[in-house]
Amino acid sequence: MRLVLEIWRQKGPEAPGAFARYEVPDASEHMSFLEMLDVLNARLVERGEDPVAFDSDCREGICGTCGFLVNGEAHGPLPNATICQTHMRHFKDGDVLRLEPWRARAFPVRKDLVVDRGALDRIIASGGYVSVRTGSAPEANAILVPKPAADRAMEAAACIGCGACVAVCPNASAALFTGAKVSHLGLLPQGQPERPLRVLAMNAQAVEEGFGHCTSIGECAAACPAGIQLEVIGRMNRDFFTAALSRRDELEPVAVLPKSSALRAYVAEPKKGET
């Protein structure tokens, strides 16, 4: 099949970007979308042109590395699937596909379709964990968890951290991502001690990172490859409400990692020669 691709090309973080037009005259319907891009890139290299930079690793929908918009849809047209899981048989001969990177102030473009999602890591770092020292854990079966709670927690924990929810949200909100972690830990007994603090800290971080708020628009859940439901945002809001009203003494100051924290190391890092 023959495809026309309009791909966002941007040399570097500060460089201006623009769409460039490419043709793949001989894509096979059995290729995955990323393999189709591999083919394009091989040709570009042979022609001495700079290949299109895009992120991918596992190529089976679990690592959350890949992701960009195809004709305005995050991870392409397939529901609940990453772009690496999308095969060309879902497209038609002669299709014109526009590939655009995730766009959010918190996700600066590094090159072409590659963005920096460190902001999501910093949200987790601000409180998305259970504080337990290695070795200090009790016997596993001493903590009983009702099966339904465990199953709900697993559903929320399935988030692959791809950032599609932010990308499709008209407010560029990380509510679904944050809500998923808040729900995962909030549903389990292990997560209770830090529950109020966690929800406040993680949201303070999300604000600091420049993510928008949630208007319950619902595009995020529709695009989420892990099938995370809007319910997790409701849970997060409820936790936030109770925490803000009842437990505020122990809450201030809410932890906010400076943008220039270790997780931003390579931005601050001296280029060759500067040192």
């Binding site: 966002w8 769409f19 918009l69 004709n71 305005g72 849809e73 526009r98 655009e100 766009r103 959010a104 102030r105 770092a125 601000s126 409180g127 964990y129 504080s131 008209p170 407010n171 560029a172 909100s173 001690p193 830090e194 603090l197 966690r198 406040l200 800290a201 949201n203 303070a204 999300a206 604000v207 420049g210 993510f211 928008g212 708020h213 949630c214 208007t215 319950s216 628009i217 619902g218 595009e219 529709a222 695009a223 809007l230 319910e231 945002i233 409701g234 849970r235 997060m236 809001n237 409820r238 936030f240 409400f241 803000a244 505020r248 809450l251 201030e252 100051p253 932890a255 906010v256 990692l257």
Partner: protein
């Protein structure tokens, strides 16, 4: 507890007011919007019921009008609560939406919303329309300065005269559509903001929101329509 917090907290812990904590965070602001939104919804609902008395004739509705004015203290507290709610609501909503604009940064060349309703993506606009309407509306039927032929205390007369003009009818109906949009999504979102949502409840909530929005819109719109088709006349 969490080292993340201990290690990073430079200033000594400071006690912060509940409201402050809410107002400073995006989720908190949404909670405030939901609560104020609820107040406004309740008012609008009662207001609709009151207005529908025009169908019962001049005596009834004018009596209702006098009743409202019977206890000025109550009236003014109500008005102040209402005003406060509207201001807080609008302020929060506008601020959040401005933040959201920045959060996107570069706009998409191509963006195809799939799952969401137009109403959910235009809350600011429907809201602002309502704002304009309310200002106009109060000047019109409460104060009377923009009214063609205003008679203090004669609600029935004022209403019928107002909708004697096609322009008035149009202005109101447009506002009612805006209200329909705003509440169609707003009432559902209100539950979500307050955390009252789960896979069983939410679909019901959405039906309820749609239903209430429709009832309110039809209820309000019935009056101008009734006047032009002459069901309600002086």
């Amino acid at each position: 507890m969490a080292t993340a917090v201990k290690d990073l907290s430079a200033p000594a812990p400071r006690r912060i007011s509940r409201l402050g904590l809410l107002w400073r965070s995006t989720i908190g602001k949404k909670i405030i919007m939901a609560v104020t939104g609820l107040v406004l919804v309740l008012y609008v609902f009662v207001h609709m019921l009151g207005n529908l008395q025009v169908f019962a004739g001049p005596e009834k509705i004018d009596a209702y009008g006098r009743l409202l004015r019977a206890a000025p203290v109550l009236l003014w507290t109500a008005r102040i609560v209402l005003l406060a709610a509207a201001v807080a609501h609008a302020w929060a909503g506008i601020e959040l939406q401005l933040r959201a604009r920045q959060a996107r940064g570069v706009a998409y060349a191509d963006y195809r919303p799939g799952a969401s309703s137009a109403a959910s993506r235009t809350m600011l606009w429907s809201g602002l329309l309502i704002l304009l309407f309310v200002v106009y509306h109060v000047l019109d039927l409460t104060v009377g300065v923009v009214h063609p032929d205003f008679r203090e205390g004669e609600i029935y007369w004022n209403v019928v005269k107002r909708f004697g003009q096609i322009t008035g009818v149009a202005a109101y109906l447009i506002a009612m559509v805006a209200l329909a949009f705003h509440l169609w999504h707003g009432i559902y979102s209100m539950f979500q903001s307050l955390g009252l949502s789960n896979r069983r409840l939410t679909p019901q909530v959405q039906k309820f929101a749609a239903g209430l929005a429709t009832v309110l819109t039809i209820g309000f719109s019935a009056i101008p329509l009734a006047v032009i088709i002459g069901v309600v006349k002086v």
